[in-house]
Amino acid sequence: MKFKAVIQLRGVCKQFDGKRRVTALEGVDLTIARGEMVSIVGPSGSGKSTLLNLIGGLDRPSAGEIEVDGAALAELDDDGLTRVRRDKIGFIFQFFHLLPTLSCLENVSLPLHLRGWPRKKIEQRARELLDLVKLGARLDHLPDELSGGERQRVAIARALSVFPPVLLADEPTGNLDTSSGIEILRLIRDLHERLGSTILIVTHDAAVAESCARTIHIRDGRIAKDVRR
């Protein structure tokens, strides 16, 4: 089957230098095609979040190459990496990471403001996105006025603000109760189907992992298994 890779990792290693050198990833080769929905699973400390951070340009590998939507991350300076994050990647965090002082609308608008969009266009897009995640009635609420599931939906709307080709989710249901988790997973799948985004989800949750067409198992910093359904 011929497919076009949107994420490509070649021989990626990541070591952390502290009192002792810790190898988080070692010689990882991975290709993810455009439009795939992939889960990454593994025990704690196996390196799955590190892998996500490297793909998201939040961190740099100690060795190896990473390409995201045609951009070779190793060659980019900090501003270049920021541009990749801004234009090609949307992040969904376990702890939502919404700014507590901003309303839902403002949180979703934030990445668009950073891109320098006109105010009117920003508001229009933010409203659309919040409608998309079914929070159209909560535009002016602050994060601490929302439930956990609602907060995560705001975070997803923010991640989608420019409809990036890649969505990275780190334990998106890890901080939610079961029903909220199911609701969020359904939303992500729905968005995946409607928008065709490439989605990578790091998870401990077997149900979440199994809902994806492909699951990559990480163990001791290496890809132990790559299962396609």
Binding site: L58, H97, L102, P111, H113, L114, R115, D144, R158, N175
Partner: protein, 846 residues
């Protein structure tokens, strides 16, 4: 203690920079207190030590103020049976190219009964005092003095005296120690009768040093001597000297106390701010401790102990800083006293008195404990369940502002009431404190309001970064209110000190315009305040005869003790003064007061004399004089800046009668219309400049001299301003550093969702500039009130003169770019730390 070691110490080590910034306010506050008081104490100690060294075996000293007294008093003293030895002394300071030198004129025949001159390589001429007397050009110098000027026995020292140019010959060199160590060795001995001639003292002595016979007590001695010389003399042990030094240094001490209290107050807010943030940051840690069984009391004690430790560290560093500061300040104070009193005095050693250390520790500790109270209480109230919920938000402290506003209003109302009853000193100072408290309590609400005003401005400059910065200010008042309060207090202090300086300069300029209006001043020294040399009154006739001179006023200014406080007595021709340089009356009738004073029926006192010494219009003042006690009513009060301790203006005729002294310090010369100032000046110098010690100052010269002295007085004020600005900048750096740490995750999110480094930097910078702007608005406003209190304190307790209110608009305007630039500079490092750290760690940061 175990919690301190296990919990606090690792936290402090991890946040060393923040700790250092936090203690800076305490360091400065304690440093200013210790430095200023130590410098004053050291200079005073050196002065007392000098007096002791010069005194030798002297038990009592007889004096009558600076004018001195007639020689015949010596006979009366020597005839008192209780007196073992009595020796006359003339003390005068002479400026040389290597600093001032104290010249002690003594009678070598009698003086060796009181003082020992330990000479090296003794010259036979000194071994025999008669030979020394027979050679009136003899001089004994100290080894230090000789070494500094490369002098040996028989070296010649030229000197311009009231008797013309004279050459003195070094006939003895004193070994270091004892008398030779007085004034740091800058002392020289000459024959008293030679001293009378060269200083123009006529047949007068400055004082008589007395040693009593064995078995005679000091009280007995004083009683017998009082009976012999009369009531117009001071008869005291040498250790009683120095009240004028103490009075002068008291002003510095009070001024520095205000600065250190302000610095400590500001430091208190910085500590409060840091600890308030630390509590929010360490909620999880507190939650764990609580979950493990720590009681609320233990948590409160832990945070209070941290605060106390911070205070102690700041105090210790502050004491060290104060000692360094004292080293600089002793030279400054010594120089100032030299300029004003003509006496060089520098402290050889700096010693911090135990009471200063004790007071400093108490101040530092109390300040830090007060600052830590509210955060410690907040820490104790942390709910362990909520604290352990990862990712939960911190609830902002709504509702606190309302209670603060209520307290602020109460303080404000009470301070206004206190203003109405401000003639009672404790009420006035209480009201001042309440006004500051009201401002401090209102600071969070006001800064919130100003932040809202700033939002559109910041957004207008940079829509995203400005908006984020403004939101951070609005939504995080806890983070910024402490800093804003600190900045507000600092700027209020700057404005009040600047305003005080501006008002003073304005008043002094106005006084100079009226009082110092002669065209020329003929003086005995380049410094118009030096009074070692005096002119004979006969010179006036010669000066009047010089072409172009319209009028000559003879002025004799001497310092005398009134109620044991040194006061400047100015004796002149009052009628001429009233005609030429009449100062407006503060109390009394303008015409009548000059008329009565001219007729010798009263004195005119300066406003500061009246205020500082409690003299009232119409009240009789008693001034001890050799002729007896002079009793005259206060005929009027005028605003006069002649002397810091106040001045008394009286008729020259009365002065001559009571002090038997017709000498003159300064001739004030008015020129005829059209006469050239330069030409008349040259004629005076041609006529007298080569024959005697004489200087002719133009009006401009004298005004410049007065302004220079004023600048010196305000030198400390400028140091205080620098301290206040420094504390303000430290406050901003501290707030931003804390803010960046506090917002680490927030800034990480910004970067993760596409914020460029420059955008993050701009956000931090704009927040800093926002803090600066809020501080400026509040500080400049509070400064207006603070200036009122400062001027009132100056009027009541410092200089005794109402210098009028003049808000320093220029300084306020200058502060805008200074503070905004300082805020920007303060934000550079925090801005960099916001973008340089690991993004992954930032996102994981709790």
């Amino acid at each position: 203690m175990i919690l301190l070691r296990l919990i606090s110490w690792p936290y402090a080590r991890k946040h060393l920079l923040r700790i250092l910034l936090t203690i800076a306010g305490i360091v400065l506050g304690v440093g200013v207190f210790v430095g200023m008081h130590t410098a004053n104490q050291s200079v005073l100690a050196a002065f007392r030590s000098t007096i002791d060294r010069i005194a030798g075996q002297t038990q009592l000293q007889i004096s009558a103020g600076e004018p001195g007294f007639d020689e015949d008093v010596l006979d009366r003293v020597q005839n008192v049976p209780e007196v073992r030895a009595a020796a006359p002394v003339i003390e005068a300071t002479v400026s040389t190219d290597k600093g001032n030198v104290l010249i002690l004129g003594v009678d070598m025949l009698g003086d060796r009964n009181l003082r020992s001159y330990d000479l090296e390589g003794a010259d036979e001429s000194i071994d025999d005092p008669l030979v020394f007397l027979a050679q009136p050009d003899s001089l004994i110098v100290t080894k230090t003095f000789a070494a500094a000027r490369d002098l040996r026995i028989n070296s010649r020292i030229p000197m311009r005296t009231m008797d013309g140019d004279r050459v003195f010959v070094v006939r003895g060199i004193m070994k270091p120690g004892g008398l030779a160590s007085a004034f740091g060795g800058n002392i020289a001995i000459m024959d008293i009768y030679a001293a009378q001639k060269i200083f123009g003292r006529g047949r007068k002595f400055d004082r008589i040093d007395v040693a009593l016979r064995d078995g005679v007590t000091l009280d007995e001695g004083i009683a017998e001597l009082r009976a012999a010389v009369g009531p117009g003399f001071q008869i005291e042990p040498p250790s009683s000297r120095g009240p004028e030094f103490e009075a002068t240094s008291r002003i510095y001490e009070l001024g520095s106390n205000i600065t250190s209290v302000f610095a400590l107050f500001i430091g208190m807010f910085i500590i409060y701010n840091t600890f308030a943030i630390a509590v929010t940051q360490r909620r999880a840690e507190i939650g764990i401790l609580r979950a493990l069984g720590a009681t609320r009391g233990q948590i409160r004690t832990l945070f209070l102990s941290e605060s106390a430790m911070t205070g102690i560290a700041g105090t210790l560093a502050g004491i060290g800083f104060g000692v360094l500061m004292a080293r600089v300040m002793t030279g400054y104070i010594g120089g100032l006293l030299e300029e004003v009193y003509g006496v060089a005095q520098s402290a050889a050693a700096i010693e911090v008195a135990p009471w200063i250390v004790g007071a400093a520790i108490a101040m530092g500790l109390i300040t830090s404990l007060i600052a830590g109270l509210i955060p410690a209480r907040a820490a104790a109230m942390v709910d362990p369940v909520k604290a352990l919920q990862k990712g939960s938000y911190l609830s902002p402290g709504e509702g606190e502002n309302r209670s603060r506003r209520k307290w602020a209003m109460a303080c404000a109302v009470l301070s206004i009431l206190a203003l109405m009853l401000n003639r009672y000193t404790p009420v006035f100072y209480g009201g001042y404190l309440l006004a500051v408290m009201a401002a401090v309590l209102l600071a969070p609400s006001l800064s919130l309001q100003v932040s809202r005003w700033l939002r559109p401005v910041l957004k207008g400059i940079r829509p995203v970064e400005g908006g984020l910065a403004a939101d951070s200010l609005i939504q995080g008042p806890r983070r910024t209110s402490g800093t804003v309060a600190a900045l507000m207090l600092s700027l209020a202090l700057v404005i009040s000190l600047g305003g005080l300086a501006r008002s003073s300069y304005r008043s002094i300029s106005e006084w100079m315009r009226i009082a110092l209006n002669p065209d020329l001043f003929v003086t005995t020294a380049e410094s118009a305040t030096a009074r070692s040399f005096v002119f004979p009154a006969s010179l006036a006739a010669g000066l009047r005869g010089i072409e172009g001179v319209a009028e000559v006023q003879l002025v004799r200014s001497v310092r005398v003790l009134v109620k044991n406080v040194p006061v400047m007595l100015v004796a002149t021709d009052i009628e001429s003064l009233a005609r030429r340089a009449r100062l407006p009356a503060i109390e009394g009738d303008g015409d009548q007061m000059y008329r009565r004073a001219a007729a010798g029926e009263g004195v005119i006192v300066s406003e500061n004399y009246a205020r500082l010494h409690g003299a009232r219009y119409g009240e009789t003042i008693e001034i001890p004089a050799p002729e007896g006690t002079l009793r005259l009513p206060v005929a009027g009060i005028v605003r006069d800046f002649s002397d810091q301790q106040g001045s008394i203006l009286l008729s020259r005729d009365v002065f001559i009668r009571y002090w038997h002294d017709d000498a003159v310090n300064i001739f004030r010369i008015y020129l005829k219309p059209g006469a050239s100032e330069a030409a008349v000046r040259q004629r005076i110098l041609d006529a007298y400049g080569t024959r005697r010690r004489l200087f002719v100052l133009t009006n401009g010269d004298l005004r410049n001299y007065v302004m220079r002295i004023t600048d010196q007085w305000f030198g400390l004020t400028y140091i205080q301003i620098a301290v206040a600005v420094l504390v303000a900048v430290l406050g901003i750096v501290n707030a931003l550093t804390v803010s960046i740490i506090d917002r680490r995750r927030e800034l990480g999110v910004l970067r993760a969702v596409g914020g460029m480094r420059r955008q993050i930097r701009h956000t931090v910078w704009m927040e800093a500039i926002g803090i600066g702007a809020i501080g400026l608005v509040l500080g400049l406003a509070l400064g207006a009130a603070q200036l009122y209190y400062t001027i009132e304190i100056a009027r009541r307790d410092l200089i005794g003169i109402d210098i009028g209110y003049a808000y320093p608009f220029t300084m306020a305007l200058a502060l805008v770019p200074v503070i905004l630039s300082a805020a920007y500079l303060a934000a550079l490092a925090p801005g960099e730390s916001a973008v340089r750290g690991s993004l992954v760690e930032a996102l994981e940061y709790e």
